[in-house]
Symmetry: C2
Subunit: 736 residues, 2 copies
């Protein structure tokens, strides 16, 4: 039952938008919870952090500790072991035993002689705890508490003072603390007046101003009956009486923690178009042709294979090579123009079918199974685009935008036109059916054992829709992962993550300078964003070939791969990156002859490829726990503006990495750096070994100031594993 709080519990952190959205964690990750906790008067306060799987009844509990000099700030840590939604709360109470203990001690130390009444009070507290122990079936504890109570009753003040600080007694009194008056933190706490729940008063005559209201007597009467049934007592308050007793405005809700599975927190993605698997320029490859590409990705160390849309491609207004408005006969079309009500499409030829040129649903299921068998996983694209040939267009014209002549509007971003795609109207009068149907698309593919969805342009659809869809899907498939492909203004990107997206694309793709990278990644990993926004880093995508890659040659690819692989536990590349493909449309950050619009011929082992570098990076990621954590990124000083220096250190300091990257793809640079030895718990003069995991070179360094030199054509980065010096030369702790 809600009742007025006895303890103030506020500023609980982390809460996202005051608890409106869950904090995110992955299986095995910790959460440090803080809160301001205090109460009126002089009672000693005790507090617990409690958490449980949502929908279950038993809490896990751990004591909270007052932060020294923390100005009423308390803290505790909890952890999560299942891929599900948890809820948590803070419980606090005025601790009668500890308050009494403190009072007794103060009086005893002040030399107060008569402590008989105080002694009896203390004994009664122990007896109450003994009853609680008995009611829980803890008979040994019960008898121990009863014994102590008896000793207190018969003890001298000095004996009592000694007894009540026995560690055993303190433990028992903690275990059986009287929490009957405890307060739990809840979201949307109603105003006190609603909690007092006064009975609706009946009207009373308005007294004249100089009449003496005798409110005391009715109040005295009400003492003999339950307060909830008390007669009205405020005879002098006509206006108050006219106000009906309000119902509580809210029901209790606890802060939530969404716990994702491990691959949501650590993964390396490889994106390719199934139709390009063989690298032929003359026809589609098929699902059954994809295994060599999958095996190559596995060999490089990737574990998520991401396919752009695999659905039937529209015929009407189909685009040609390099986004030509009209295509030539036989051109394959753009996979993002989804929907083709072709004959034989088992599910109408829309989002629940596969393009016939790639194979059948059975072929797709086979490919998914093959990929799973390799310990890898499939991600597919969810693009809410309908070609004019999509079944929705014919069955639900009301889901689209109409022109004045009744025809359906195609997509535009004036003056650009996308005649092959119809946008959907998320607020059409039949929106509920549409939201449900789109949700059913994801559930359909979940049934086909796909659990990762890269969502195209989510920022052009309502946030409420995503919150609804992701919530519905994860209620059934908590292992479903959603990647938000939103390159838009910062607040919208944050809101999509709050609304439920597991991962987000980022501005990483355009952050090249030392200042840009350190500022942006400090925000991502150190601000409140770290609790709900997981950066999935992509140096390229089918839509984006950044100028940096266009002009930096092979070293630029090495550099961007090293940054993506170390700045976040989640990253991916779009195929062709490993071949250093960098031919762009003039003056644009887009691929020339993009395979979005055509078949593309490729040698997947073309000379100059960086597959070895990527393979090394992924192996280093796998083997170093520090790279599996998100918010342990810290930037440090390197005395050169082209040399970026950061560390990744596990909480236990059992894996300490220093990463140095030369951001200039053209020139060699050297710099003195300031090694943050304090992060590793060392002294300024300590010696240690740094082992470059990329080159296998080892150096012995001392203290803070050291020197690095990086040639972008050889190895533009160091990933240095730090090992403690254990006394003799060459005798470094190999376990670090």
């Amino acid at each position: 039952m809600l009742r007025p709080p006895t303890v103030v519990i506020e500023n609980v952190a982390p809460l996202i938008d005051a608890g409106r959205y869950p904090v995110k964690r992955a299986v095995g990750e910790d959460l440090v919870v803080e809160a301001d906790i205090y109460k009126d008067g002089h009672d000693v306060v005790s507090a617990l952090l409690k958490w449980r799987k949502a929908g279950t009844s038993r809490w896990h509990e751990t004591p909270m500790h007052h932060i020294p000099n923390g100005n009423d700030r308390w803290q505790a840590t909890c952890s999560f072991h299942e891929n599900t939604t948890y809820e948590l709360t803070v419980e606090a109470w005025g601790d009668t035993f500890r308050s009494w203990q403190h009072e007794f001690q103060t009086k005893f130390k002040a030399g107060q002689q008569d402590l008989a009444s105080e002694t009896l009070e203390g004994a009664a507290l122990l007896e109450k705890a003994a009853l609680k122990a008995a009611s829980l079936g803890q008979l040994l504890d019960k008898s121990r508490l009863s014994e102590c109570a008896a000793q207190i009753r018969s003890g001298t003040p000095a004996q009592v003072e000694e007894l009540i600080h026995w560690q055993e007694l303190e433990g028992l009194m903690t275990a059986y603390a009287d929490r009957s008056e405890a307060t739990e933190f809840i979201l949307n706490q109603p105003p006190a007046a609603e909690l007092v729940e006064l009975p609706a008063p009946t009207p009373a005559p308005v007294p004249a101003a100089d009449t003496v209201p005798s409110a005391l007597k009715p109040a005295a009467q009400s003492a003999s009956q339950p307060a909830t049934a008390a007669a009205p007592t405020l005879t002098a308050a006509p206006a108050l009486e006219a106000t009906p007793a309000p119902a509580p405005r809210t029901t209790a809700a606890y802060p939530k923690v969404l716990v994702d599975r491990e691959r949501a927190a650590f993964a390396q993605w490889y994106e390719f178009f199934p139709r390009s698997a063989e690298g032929r320029g003359d026809r589609d490859s098929r699902f059954r042709d994809c295994l060599p590409r999958v095996d190559d990705a596995k060999a490089m160390g990737f574990d998520v294979i991401y396919f752009p849309p695999i659905h039937p491609i529209g015929i009407t207004a189909r685009k040609g090579r390099n986004n030509a408005v009209t295509c030539q006969p036989g051109e394959p079309g753009v996979p993002y123009a989804i929907g083709n009500r072709h004959k034989g499409a088992p599910n109408g030829g829309g989002h629940k079918d596969v393009a016939p040129e790639l194979g059948t649903l059975n072929d797709f299921d086979w490919l998914v199974d093959e990929i799973h068998a390799r310990g890898m996983e499939v991600a597919i694209d969810f693009a809410i685009n309908c070609s004019p040939d999509h079944p929705y267009v014919h069955e639900h014209p009301e889901w689209f935008y109409a022109r004045p002549d009744g025809s359906i509007k195609y997509a535009e971003n004036p003056p650009k036109k996308y005649q092959d795609v119809y946008p959907m109207n998320f607020h059409n009068p039949n929106w509920r059916a549409m939201w449900e149907e789109l949700t059913s698309v994801i559930l359909f593919w979940c049934e086909h054992r796909v659990r990762i969805f890269r969502v195209d342009n989510p920022h052009t659809k309502p946030l409420a829709f995503w919150e609804y869809l992701i919530g519905k899907v994860q209620a059934r498939f908590p292992d479903a992962i959603f990647l938000s492909e939103a390159f838009t203004h910062p607040k919208m990107m944050k809101s999509l993550a709050k609304a439920g997206f597991t991962h987000s694309y980022t501005y990483f793709t355009w952050r090249n300078s030392k200042h840009e990278l350190s500022e942006y990644f400090s925000e991502l990993t150190q601000s409140e964003m770290r609790h709900y926004f997981r950066a999935n880093l992509w140096p390229n995508t089918p839509d984006i070939l950044p100028f940096y890659l266009q002009h930096g040659g092979r070293p630029a690819f090495l550099i961007r791969a090293a940054l993506a692989a170390t700045l976040s536990p989640i990253y991916g590349i779009y195929s062709g990156f490993e071949l250093c493909e960098n031919a762009a449309l003039p003056g644009r950050e887009e691929y020339l002859d993009s395979e979005k619009y055509q078949w593309k011929e490729r040698d997947w082992n073309a000379p100059g490829n960086i597959k070895d570098w990527i393979t090394k990076l992924n192996r280093i990621r796998r083997e170093n726990r520090a790279l599996h954590e998100y918010s342990n990124l810290r930037f440090h000083q390197a005395e050169h503006d082209q040399i970026l220096f950061f560390s990744k250190v596990t909480a236990a300091r059992d894996n300490v990495l220093l990463v140095l990257v030369n951001l200039d793809p053209h020139h060699t640079h050297g710099a003195h750096i300031d090694v943050p030895v304090e992060l590793f718990g060392w002294m300024e003069g300590d010696r240690y070994q740094v082992h470059d995991l990329l080159t296998e070179e080892r150096y012995v360094w001392t203290g803070r100031r050291n020197f690095v030199r990086l040639d972008p054509h050889q190895s533009p980065a160091h990933i240095l594993r730090v090992r403690r010096w254990a006394g003799r030369e060459r005798d470094f702790d190999q376990y670090l």
Copy 2:
């Protein structure tokens, strides 16, 4: 009806604890509201700030403006003219007209030839607005919109492009904007899934994994019927179907603004014990003896007369002079030991009676009327202390704490004992009746035309109790003002203000150095606290005679009065301050021979008094609007650590004050100061006059760097009114 938002409205500011508590303002004060506002897609967004008296239906509206480079931050200002509770919200929508206007313009400027369809769309928007105007009875506007629509229908693209930017049309389309899809900001917004309110689905057979679910067809059927009655469409989702459709978790609530009356924002208090009115050492003065003291206070410029408790004083365990444990026969006792069930007490002799030695309730009513007749007001003390002789003790022993022997516990703060006072137990089983009864005490005195309550030690009672009591009282008497006398840790002081206290005592009493004062008052007036915490400054109280006053002589009193009178629009003194009384208990910050415990002989015009200084300060306060505002305090640089320099400037810059105070009561100091001319909108080289309102001296200053010198024995402060130089010597703008 709640429905999924179409626009994101978040980070609305100011909100106190996410809207759990109201923002405070006084009648006539403005509130600047900001919010992050954005939506999916490319629509142009429009937004309004809306506010209204709580419980009424019509909103005031004002457009919000996007802050330039504000990263989706919008702003508007509202103001409040009644002493009541307001609610406010932000409404935003995708503006179909402005979006169309933008799209048309973009296409037109890009030279697109065929704009026929776009033109018809625009005309339709105007026709829809015309219908809205007609429905509101605005027939002139209706016909103007219809005319424009017709012109658009028949216009060339160039004509349309010109027409749609006519200011008149823009005004009309703003007035009749289509807000049918608008979103309002509400507190405790429920999750999207609750708003979609899907019908409870009926069970369906679980399909085999490779069965093709045909969700599309049921969805197609549902298009022909209202979505809320649609048949279940997720035939492939058995787990989802098992989940009942949840009811929305919350009901809409708007952020609240508590608007107090003007005296809550600007007042000067004078505290005296009625029994000391005549300054006799041998007996009580009575209510009917108080007028000379009131008139003296009025002459000094005070407008609130605050009386410590006026109720019957207990006999049992009555304390004597200087807090002696036992009193001598005839001693008057401590007014904070409330309650004496003496014969003839009309209301039982507790908190609803007056001490017989002061007179009768009629005498008190007479005094209140006399004070009101002088344009002044009465504040009384609300101390929830019961002497052993209080009627509550006898009628409601369950409201107190029991000792093991059944007797009632007196107050203790070990090792200190307060045998003359019983604390009340706010969580006793009969707490509801007690909370109501205590509330009725305040309502009783409101009926006796008292509307200001200084509350003793509120931090030793539950916050929920205060929120309940103040809410109940202000629902009936919105002009009731509550001052929290809590000298405790910072978060509790803030929470009391959030819970409803209009004013708060502060740490001012112990903040003496330049650093302490500027840091503390910057927090009070510039942090979020300014929206809910109003500092009522007291250089002394009956409980506190600070060391600074004990040792600083008369100048210390001048200095502390000047600081209190200028750092906040609300301040007060406890009588005797104007006489520079500074005799203390040795080593303590308490008065020697405190009148809390005894009668006290005084000459209210004793030599060396500072009544003239106080009179001047209060006159300056009255005449200068800048001193009526709270959050316009800004500290500036003075090149001496004993000279405090701050400004108070009205928003309109029509009252500009520079205040300089020598904090050293012993020595004269001079300092160069850095005048913040930019605050007044002037240039660095401008000349201006500064007029010392305390001494009537005038100086002509230029630019930023000037010099002051302050002798604490003469006038330890400047309050400089700044007047603009208007061209000729001695020709300063007298209106400033």
